[in-house]
């Protein structure tokens, strides 16, 4: 018995070591380094000294925290839109269509992921541009007589963000809906509930863990995305990740960039914490 126990332990450690090494070398170490440098500023003599200035700059300079507020607001909006658009899809795939159809349709949903974000972003440019496919079609049909300005606006940015993140909402919502016993829906209808009541009182609460975990993933992906806001959003849509990028690679102020990075991590985690509290969900339940 004790031998078996020991054998299990050795195998366990052998299996866990690569994961721990991966996490430590690629995630923990760089973060420690960034964390330390976020509290440093370069003094006049070129030496690094401890300071809170990098963090204070975020609050003192309006452009920084306004960018963050805007980014967070848009990320929340995109998350809600992703839920509204994908919930009917998830419901249809799990409860309405046959299993065979569903697996084919899920495959179709996955295709954009195979292509990669950069390619899909350029795909949207082709579609939405002033001389793009949509404008061309609308003009040739005669609905509009001059091109609509869609590309390089908040609209095109939201489309791009939605497109890359929607799937991450569908999958967890589907997995909770799959375990929803059809007889719960029938029982509610038997007790006199309308379709809307069944949706609001039975289906949504049942799917809540999936919705919240999907929302966390989508929110994190969107708030930390760089490509879609940068390419599709153009000049008017400044994203907080672009501020970080600018600090690192344009002004070469790595200390400031590191502080922004940690602020993004902390503030977005704070938003998720508030959202969990508001929805009455627990992180361990959502994660499972």
């Amino acid at each position: 018995m004790s031998m078996e126990r020991k054998g299990f332990n050795v195998t366990f450690y052998l299996l866990i070591i690569p994961v721990l090494l991966w996490l430590f070398i690629l995630i923990v170490l760089p973060h420690i380094d960034l964390f330390v440098s976020s509290f440093q500023v370069e003094a006049d003599d070129g030496k690094k000294v401890f300071s809170f200035d990098n963090y204070l700059a975020f609050f003192k300079q309006q452009i920084y925290w306004l960018t963050f507020v805007k980014t967070a607001a848009y990320a929340i909006g995109v998350t809600i839109l992703a839920f509204v658009i994908t919930f009917p899809i998830a419901f249809y795939l799990t409860k309405v269509t046959s299993k065979k159809n569903a697996s084919f349709l899920i495959l179709l949903l996955l295709i954009p992921l195979w292509v990669g974000e950069l390619v899909t972003v350029y795909g949207w440019m082709v579609l939405l541009g002033d001389h793009g496919i949509i404008n061309h079609l609308l003009m040739s049909v005669g609905i509009i007589d001059k091109p609509m300005n869609m590309l390089y606006t908040n609209f095109s940015m939201i489309i791009g963000l939605l497109y890359m993140s929607m799937l991450f909402m569908v999958v967890p919502v589907m997995s909770t809906l799959e375990s929803l016993d059809d007889s719960l829906i029938e029982a509610a209808s038997d007790l006199g509930a309308s379709k809307f009541t069944i949706f609001r009182r039975i289906i949504i609460p049942y799917a809540m863990p999936g919705i919240v975990s999907g929302a966390i993933i989508v929110f994190m992906l969107v708030i930390g995305d760089y490509l879609a806001p940068n390419i599709l959003g153009g000049k008017s849509s400044l994203w907080f990740t672009e501020q970080i990028y600018n600090q690192f690679l344009q002004t070469f102020n790595w200390n400031q960039g590191a502080a922004f990075g940690f602020l993004l991590l902390m503030l977005s985690s704070g938003i998720i914490w508030v959202a969990l509290k508001l929805s009455g969900q627990k992180l361990d339940k959502v994660g499972s």
């Binding site: 029938e186 029982a187 209808s189 006199g192 509930a193």
Partner: protein
């Protein structure tokens, strides 16, 4: 009392498959009506048609004389207790029971009074704020029944609600359900594959086989006078014999055992183990006697049976006989020959 439910020549087809075929019956108000059949016989389909989740291909279902055609489940005066119970896991006991009343747009105090009354009726006072996942099987059962009964349905439909319980609890719930039904007087339609459940609880039982009702009768009648060979074989235990010849006086089995019963054209003979009398007193006019040899004793307490072979049968046809557990038969052992009698009315031939 009048008929609360009339099912008129209802059939249900799924493509080429006939799930329910020309079923026709009535249920009296306040009765406990069971539909008994093995799985896949169409009983669940029939129940779902009464509830409105499925639509009959032919025929009509009337509740209090009113056709239910085109009336959706939420508008029908029936409620159903599902096999899986289908309690709402996101709600506590109180919210589960109150769910239907809230849909009726009743006031809060009204709902509270009705829910509390129903919960005390099923013995669940003090469980209001418990989550349904914290309850035991029997308690969940009672929540499901309370949730349906609080709606004051004309008919309560029960889809094998005891199926998921362990044996002991099932025995207990059987009695409890029967008492509850008597007390509140709601008409129950109960479907089950367990004949003991049906026999204990029902006023009337319909035996269903391959989408057809074989017989509708009281439990006692069903057991004593099965109308078809299927019912005779399905309800209770029976010894089954193939009849190869029959004439004006006798039935002759495959193995050549001659039985003095007049039924020309009979193909099958059923004899219940408990209908057989060991060492019958001679001279009873309607008692048929014959000798058997004990092969083995299948001891099972009050349910002990003798496995015997019929001496007159050349192929040694087997006959199971119930063995009363009293001192008289204590000394029986394997290989003994024993005289057995049976009342002519207990020889069921088809």
């Amino acid at each position: 009392m009048g008929n609360i439910l009339e099912v008129k020549n209802v059939s249900k087809y799924f493509g080429d498959f006939t799930a329910v075929k020309d079923v026709d019956f009535v249920v009296e108000e306040g009765g406990f009506f069971s539909i008994l059949g093995s799985s896949g016989c169409g009983k669940t389909t029939l129940l779902r048609m009464i509830a409105g989740f499925q639509h009959e291909s032919e025929g009509d279902i009337l509740i209090r004389g009113k056709s239910m055609k085109g009336i959706p489940p939420e508008k029908r005066p029936v409620n159903i207790v599902f096999q899986t119970l289908a309690l709402f896991p996101m709600m506590n006991v109180y919210e589960n029971v109150a769910f239907g009343l809230q849909r009726k747009k009743m006031s809060k105090p009204e709902i509270e009074a009705l829910v509390n009354e129903m919960l005390s009726r099923v013995g669940l006072n003090g469980f209001e704020t418990k989550n349904v996942t914290e309850l035991s099987g029997g308690q969940r059962q009672r929540v499901a029944i309370a949730r349906s009964l609080v709606m004051k349905p004309e008919i309560l439909l029960l889809d094998e609600p005891l199926g998921a319980l362990d044996r002991k609890l099932r025995e207990h719930m059987k009695v409890e359900l029967k008492l509850l039904q008597k007390e509140i007087g709601t008409t129950f339609i109960y479907i089950t594959h367990d004949q003991s459940e049906a026999l204990v609880m029902s006023d009337k039982i319909a035996v269903m086989h391959q989408g057809v009702f074989e017989q509708i009768a009281t439990p006692r009648d069903l057991y004593r006078n099965p109308k078809t060979a299927f019912v005779a074989g399905f309800v209770g235990d029976s010894n089954r014999f193939e009849i190869t010849q029959s004439n004006a006086e006798q039935l002759i089995t495959e193995g050549g055992w001659k039985i003095n019963k007049a039924h020309e054209g009979a193909k099958l003979l059923f004899i219940r183990p408990e209908a057989l009398i060991l060492n019958p007193s001679k001279g009873g006019e309607n008692i048929e006697t014959f000798s058997v040899t004990i092969k083995t004793i299948l001891f099972d307490g009050s349910n002990t049976k003798l496995s015997t072979t019929v001496d007159d049968s050349s192929s040694g046809e087997e006959l199971l006989i119930s063995l009363p557990q009293n001192a008289e038969f204590e000394n029986l052992k394997e290989g003994d020959s024993i005289l057995v009698g049976i009342h002519k009315d207990d020889l069921k031939s088809y």
